[in-house]
């Protein structure tokens, strides 16, 4: 910070991470990586002009180089009429969440080998590609307003694929998002087996029909992040591109749906201060279907503590990223039904095991997604397994058409969701 004295405002963010990754290729351990990563970003303002630069800390002159680069940028910067300042210091509003696992801090390649071996032993089909990545991460934000906060967390991320062999191979996928080395390789191995075998007996869907869709956490997580997450993004509201920009206090979802941004529980981005140094807190977004709030960072103004540089899956390179608005941990309040109960309640629907890539359009909420494996439901029973079809709808409409909410909550990146069913989707095939 000393090198930045003399500016109206200045900020330094430093991050470092030690990352271990083990890769499985073709049901055998193929690589192990060890990475050490550290760097910083400098931001400063003078008379409304802004400077910003980042460097990796790979040489003695890195810090002075970074300051020089940011100064050069500031010289060229036009006056920014929207900049209101970096974060102001504030008191912590929540207790430190449990996001540090000493087992991750001290992990050795042999520990990861053991987990990978258990996974391979418990998967009865091929594992063409999988990885487990663990990291111990530290970050520090300081600014000339007096912010001086430090954060540390551990991150555990796993991505696993499976495949049956034969003329009609089926593919399965599992993920793990967490802060503790609690992934269960035996369960993951069994799930990979089940999913790949289910996909291998899929029949191509033909025709088209309107139906209910049942989305498990693995598919719903990213669809909610890309739709609801974008609609409650304060910058999208500020620039008029949130479909819910004028809906604060109004009903935007079914009465049974409540969503809270909750950084108090263990989750990849849970923290006491965000990456700009603003205190975080538990924040209702949707209460019984009514929109209760938007998420903001310092650029947006009146920050809610959602200015994040860190990723929920990757520790490397946090210092390179400018803070953007992110949910810290968007939690959907669970219901009381099991997935089997939801299927039994569904008259005419599809339970999606796997999309090609689950996402909705961030502006409009529209989606049209390739179903890799889905179970057709008639009068509460699964009557067939289908693939190669498009499931279409709009997630911002779907949240107003919630039929059932499950009790099987799982962490999927920055969201924690159960299985849910929605009416009003369309399925189109060949």
């Amino acid at each position: 910070m000393q090198a930045l004295s003399g500016y109206d405002q200045a900020e330094v963010y430093v991050s470092s991470a030690t990352v271990h990754t083990i890769y499985i290729d073709d049901s055998r351990i193929s690589n192990i990586e060890t990475k050490v990563d550290s760097g910083l970003m400098v931001r400063m303002s003078e008379d409304g002009r802004l400077g910003k630069a980042s460097v990796s800390l790979n040489r003695d002159s890195a810090v002075s180089d970074c300051v020089s680069m940011a100064r050069a940028v500031l010289r060229y910067s036009p006056v920014n009429g929207e900049f209101t300042g970096y974060a102001q210091p504030g008191q912590a509003r929540i207790a430190v969440p449990d996001v540090w696992d000493e087992r991750v801090e001290s992990v050795e390649p042999e520990d990861l080998r053991e987990i990978a071996k258990v996974l391979i032993d418990n998967c009865d089909v091929d594992i063409p590609r999988a990885q487990i990545r663990v990291s111990a991460n530290e970050g520090c934000t300081m600014n000339s307003n007096g912010v001086d906060v430090h954060h540390r967390s551990t991150l555990v991320y796993g991505h696993f694929t499976s495949m049956t062999v034969g003329d009609h191979p089926g593919e399965g996928m599992e993920t793990y998002h967490g802060t503790h080395l609690d992934l269960d390789p035996e369960w993951i191995g069994r799930e990979l087996t089940r999913k790949a075998r289910a996909a291998s007996v899929c029949r191509e869907f033909k025709g088209s029909e309107s139906l209910s869709m049942i989305l498990p956490p693995s598919e719903l997580g990213d669809m909610l992040t890309s739709s609801v997450g974008a609609a409650v993004d304060g910058e999208n509201r500020k620039y008029g591109r949130s479909m819910w920009r004028d809906s604060l206090g109004e009903r935007v979802a079914s009465e049974c749906l409540s969503i809270t941004d909750d950084p108090t529980v263990p989750a990849p981005l849970s923290c006491v201060f965000d990456d700009e140094g603003v205190p975080t807190e538990r924040r209702p977004l949707i209460e019984n279907g009514v929109l209760r709030g938007f998420l903001r960072d310092s650029f947006c103004g009146d920050s809610t503590g959602n200015g994040m540089r860190r990723s929920s899956v990757e520790a490397q390179g946090a210092y390179e990223r400018t803070p953007v608005i992110k949910p810290l941990n968007m939690v959907v309040a669970p219901g009381r039904m099991s997935r089997e109960d939801i299927v039994a309640e569904t008259d005419h629907g599809i339970l999606v095991e796997k999309f090609a890539w689950p996402e909705a359009d961030e502006l409009t909420g529209r989606f049209g997604l390739n179903v890799r494996c889905g179970y057709l439901i008639r009068r509460g029973e699964i009557v067939g397994t289908v693939n190669n079809a498009l499931l279409m709808g709009n997630m911002l409409d779907a949240v107003s058409n919630v039929e059932c909410i499950g009790d099987d909550v799982r962490q999927m990146g920055v969201v924690s969701v159960p299985t849910m069913s929605f009416s009003g989707a369309e399925l189109v095939g060949n």
Binding site: T34, V36, S38, V55, A62, P169, E314, Q316, N370, D397
Partner: protein, 466 residues
């Protein structure tokens, strides 16, 4: 320019390779990389981002018993690099052993980027002006609620040495600018984007009519507000070059990556010599296309880039390879062993992937189509090497009825079995365009690629979103 270049550390890299060999590596390489990025973006006439970034580090790889070990240092300190080299060798050791031997070429070359105007020679103020010009040009209609301009340059300096005597350095320069407009009529929102990308220098910006790009981008976003919902069903589709490229990339490209073949994860395993498309379809991956966004002089293992024919007039002809997959399949490496950066693993990755041209004009294709849909720009896509399907999201399109354009349609998704679609392809245009973007392997490890092709007519499943 701030900081050192990757090739300043050649002596240390050679020492690290020697260290890994002494510790028992059968083959090893060391690659240093520095990456400098200048990014400028605007929103509604105000600069939103103005940033310079400089990152760099060293990736050490040791090959022992058919297994890679990696060590990465975000430091150019000799002791840190030697420590990462020791980690690489330790990480390569393990149970099980293969006698697979890599066959890397020994190359000694030093290549500068082939650019006319190096971005380093251009004042930052001109880059800012370009972005604000793009932004201002979009102010053509009150319904344009977001005007966005952006400029980005990336300068990568690479240095690689390995245990068979390679000594290579090269620079990659990528320059791009883009306009994106969001339009709203109070109820609906639509967007449109345009702008060039390349492995060229700042000439890309100076040679572009920024006013024209910005204005037409905004006008098209507004026009899309009146688009109708796209139809759904199995129908005739004319993909534009961008969506043709997405088909090439997602439907066939990923499934032709050598590691998907060695794992038998691709529906194209054992397909060489088999018919996978109609006679009019030929397809390549070519990392040597001058100026294309995915071009590289060498891959990240030091193999010179090359042109790989994947489909020859409907017949499947071959795969892309890294050192490892080439050895596994008894082929020559094709220069497709790429990584996102020094901190990421090398995989088999595409470069510039495209369908070869046909003999039609775009307008002839439309006039010859009784009932169908014409694509206009892509959003993104997803591969399915196991199932042999694909998914491509289109930004918008046009209905074709009785040989004429009959109105605009909103975003929609295409899917189907890749071989069925390419076998149904019956007409391709003479015009081939490449479009740059980022490609992930599964869900991460992003590398810069391009994809493209001609306008192409085929049958596939169309789904219009709500």
């Amino acid at each position: 320019m701030t900081g050192q270049r990757a090739d300043d550390y050649q002596d240390v890299l050679e020492s690290a390779v020697g260290h890994m060999q002494d510790m028992g590596a059968e083959f090893s390489d060391a690659r240093s990389q520095t990456i400098r990025v200048t990014g400028v973006s605007s929103m509604n006439g105000e600069l939103r981002q103005l940033v310079e970034k400089a990152t760099g580090g060293v990736c050490l790889r040791a090959w022992i018993g058919g297994r890679w070990g990696y060590g990465t240092a975000t430091s150019f300190d000799r002791a840190d690099i030697m420590s990462a080299a020791a980690s690489a060798v330790a990480n390569a050791r393990g149970d099980g052993k293969s006698d697979l031997h890599l066959e890397p070429a020994s190359v000694r070359r030093h290549i500068d980027a082939r650019v006319r105007i190096h971005p380093d020679s251009v004042d930052l103020s001109e880059k800012i002006s370009a972005v604000l010009d793009l932004d201002r040009a979009q102010a053509v209609d009150d319904r344009v609620i977001n005007r966005m301009g952006s400029y980005s340059e990336e300068i990568k300096d690479n240095c690689l040495v390995n245990s068979v005597g390679s000594d290579i350095s090269w620079q990659e320069v990528r320059t791009l600018c883009r306009a994106m407009s969001v339009a709203s009529d109070g109820q609906r929102m639509e967007r449109y984007y345009d702008g060039p990308d390349s492995t060229l220098g700042f000439e890309v910006v100076r040679d572009t009519d920024l006013e024209e790009v910005g204005r037409t981008t905004a006008e098209e976003a507004v026009a899309t507000l009146s688009a109708e919902r796209a139809p759904s069903g199995h129908m005739t589709v004319i993909s534009d070059p961008m969506v043709s490229g997405l088909l090439a990339h997602e439907a066939m490209g990923h499934a032709s990556e050598g590691d998907e073949i060695t794992k038998r994860r691709s529906f194209l395993t054992g397909a060489v010599g088999r018919r996978v498309a109609s006679d009019v379809v030929s397809m390549y991956d070519d990392g040597t296309v001058h100026g294309a966004h995915g071009s590289v002089p060498f891959d990240d293992e030091g193999t010179p880039s090359s042109r790989t024919q994947i489909i020859d007039h409907g017949e499947y002809t071959g795969y892309m390879h890294s050192l490892e997959t080439a050895s596994q399949l008894g082929c020559r490496p094709t220069g497709n062993g790429r990584s996102e950066n020094y901190g990421k693993r090398v995989w088999v990755r595409m470069t510039n992937t495209f369908f070869a041209p046909g003999e039609w004009d775009r307008d002839e294709l439309i006039a010859d189509t009784r009932d169908g849909i014409l694509c206009d720009k892509m959003v993104n896509g997803m591969e399915d090497p196991v199932g042999g399907c694909f998914e491509a999201k289109c930004l918008r399109g046009f209905r074709i009825r009785n040989g004429e354009i009959a109105g605009m349609v909103q975003s929609f998704t295409l899917t189907g079995r890749s071989v069925d679609i390419l076998t149904s392809a019956d007409a391709l245009s003479r015009e081939v365009v490449l479009d740059g973007g980022m490609c992930g392997k599964g869900i991460e490890d992003w590398v810069r690629v391009s994809s493209g092709g001609p306008y192409m007519r085929a049958r596939m499943i169309v789904g219009g979103g709500q």
